[in-house]
Symmetry: C2
Subunit: 388 residues, 2 copies
């Protein structure tokens, strides 16, 4: 469908048209339209594929990650780069979200130093934003590596976990190595607030893991405790990194908060679906053992909701899941309850909150910005309807 591009421009508010076109960069980026009624091939209802929109940049980030794990000792380099090899890089959702967020916030603010910046500054900014994606992936992978040691996991991303492949010792060191490579890269950004956000995110990861490990029965049966732990373990890194993207591009505190809210709610929604799939998925599609949480005594939203309907489930949780009879009993209660459905609703609620954050961003005249935002919104749907 060909539409009048002025409709896209009608989303502009609060920015004097003149100041927008005073900037050569924007004049250049808007060659597909003008401020009059020109038209282009553009279908606003067409779903924007999030991955393909930033595929090139994700590739770039992946390549850099591979080269950043070069180390003096081949064993260490190989262990640190284990999950950055082609084919086992995972979904790279975090990178995708962050790179889309960077594009989604390419907003013209007349009062901002980011406005009308030169080409070289723009290139520098993009490099910094990509670096945030790299750092976030490094922290993410380091925490996965250490988590797998803690959980004595045997598989990850459909292959042997690093601890299983090279032993706990080298896996501990590889995780440490990645953390400090991330730190080195982080320091090079020379932005204290950004460093502080990522430090908080990592501390939250560790805190969440400890909460899971050391929880009493009461805590394991508490929805509030579960929500806090889930935020720390899954949503804090992406939310703080999204906010870091905003700070790097000199956005207002309001925009930074929206970026944070998107990351937080997307991360939470993602985890709720993950918790459902642990019950409904298969080992092959998940790349990890099904029912892995409950087997380890980790109580997630579906069971917590089921327990609201069947309080007797608590006694089963108290007994633990070392024997399969208790797992069987818990599952019976789960299937009789609305636990899965209510968890799905919770995921949808947070996916919607994520989408709402994107819709609240200051309006923009750029088709690229619009596409990136649509991709971020589509992503909330994709992640909450995924089957694996």
């Amino acid at each position: 469908m060909r539409i009048l591009f002025s409709r896209v421009f009608s989303r502009i508010s609060g920015i004097p048209r003149k100041s927008l076109f005073d900037c050569p960069q924007h004049r250049q980026s808007l060659v597909f339209g003008t401020n009059s009624h020109s038209s282009i091939d553009f279908n606003p209802k067409e779903k924007v594929d999030p991955f393909s929109l930033v595929a090139d940049e994700i590739s770039l980030v992946s390549n850099r990650l591979r080269s950043s794990t070069v180390a003096e000792i081949p064993e260490l380099a190989s262990a640190a780069g284990y999950f950055f090899r082609e084919g086992v890089e995972g979904k790279r959702t975090c990178s995708m979200v962050l790179l889309l967020m960077a594009k989604a916030m390419d907003i013209n603010r007349p009062e901002s130093s980011f406005n009308c910046i030169g080409d070289s500054s723009r290139v520098q900014l993009h490099r910094k934003q990509q670096l945030i994606a790299e750092i976030t992936e490094m922290i993410h992978v380091a925490s996965l590596i250490h988590d797998d040691i803690l959980d004595d996991a045997r598989t990850r991303r459909g292959i042997a976990s690093l601890n299983f492949a090279v032993g706990n010792k080298l896996a501990v060191l590889a995780g440490d190595f990645l953390l400090f490579r991330a730190l080195g890269a982080l320091a090079s950004l020379k932005n204290t607030e950004v460093v502080s956000l990522l430090v908080t995110a990592f501390e939250n990861l560790v805190t969440g893991e400890t909460m899971q490990m050391s929880a009493t029965v009461e805590q394991r049966c508490s929805m509030e405790y579960y929500m806090q732990k889930t935020y720390y373990k899954t949503a804090s890194l992406v939310s703080n990194s999204c906010k870091a993207m905003a700070l790097l591009s000199d956005q207002t505190p309001e925009v930074a908060t929206l970026a944070f809210e998107y990351g937080k709610n997307l991360g939470l929604a993602y985890q709720f679906i993950d918790d459902i799939l642990d019950f409904t998925g298969t080992s092959a599609s998940l790349g990890k053992g099904s029912l892995s949480d409950i087997r380890q005594g980790i109580i997630t939203a579906p069971i917590l909701f089921a327990m609201e309907e069947f309080p007797q489930l608590k006694a089963v949780i108290e007994q633990g899941f070392d024997n399969s009879a208790n797992i069987h009993t818990a599952l019976e209660y789960l299937w009789k309850s609305h636990g899965i459905q209510r968890t799905k609703e919770l995921a949808t609620k947070h996916a919607n909150l994520a989408a709402a954050a994107i819709n609240s961003l200051p309006e923009s005249s750029s088709l690229d910005v619009w596409k990136s935002r649509q991709a971020l919104i589509n992503l909330t749907q994709i992640l909450t309807t995924r089957k694996k």
Copy 2:
């Protein structure tokens, strides 16, 4: 012995007397003497006790370390603060060296912005220098915690190792937590070069540990490999932190290199003595099991020197030390050789190099500076003649 204080002043060179006394801070710090022939109670031959000279500051650093390991989850706080509790803080040699180094470099440089800085800037600088000591202790302890997991160690500093006390899982997380607390503090210094030094130091720690873990027989029998690994594992952190101290106080590259050289050579000398004590010490005095290195197949300088005299030792190393007969054979060769003596000489050589670096620092008029330098030099003797 009362001496003419002008002898101390005679060490001043290259600094116009006027510029020295133009600075109120220095006028104040020199009230014990004047630029004429006044005298004070002062014995230059009296040994300066390194610890007592910075005891108050070490206390301050220790207190801050205790409060910096506060965490939301009590289990994590308790694990992260395990080695910062009073009585199990270890020798705190690293903090002592760094705080003495800071004092030893309190040099007046007419062209430096550090010269004649105001009281508040001086306080800020001291706080930053103390922070480097705190960060270094945090990295040091984090690496000890992770190392103990790798080595399956049961004791550390005369008490249960953290992995033994709380399990591997919480120990991994506590180490991670400390690393990122260190990173947060490091970032707050807003000095990219300092961050880079500490990142290098930590990467070296990880690399050294990996070298030790993954060494082939040939590598384990190589003095060059041993020296490199020893630098990475023991000397890199203190040498890079010493250099960081110099950079923070705006010293010349030459002074920064001397600070680095002191740390490197002191660290190496310390480790050579440690390697000797692993053969000659007792479990009670060391706070760890004697012969612990060789039992784990770790070949250190005494055995490497012994092998130069008795090449047949290599065959024993190739067979490994899983059975005590091989340990016994290796020890027989060691006691017949000059291995211990030559290691002692190596330690002395590096201790002397460390002392020489201090003696090469630009001369200073300050008695405090002089005392700190004497303390650093005495430390090279104390550490190489220690029995535990």
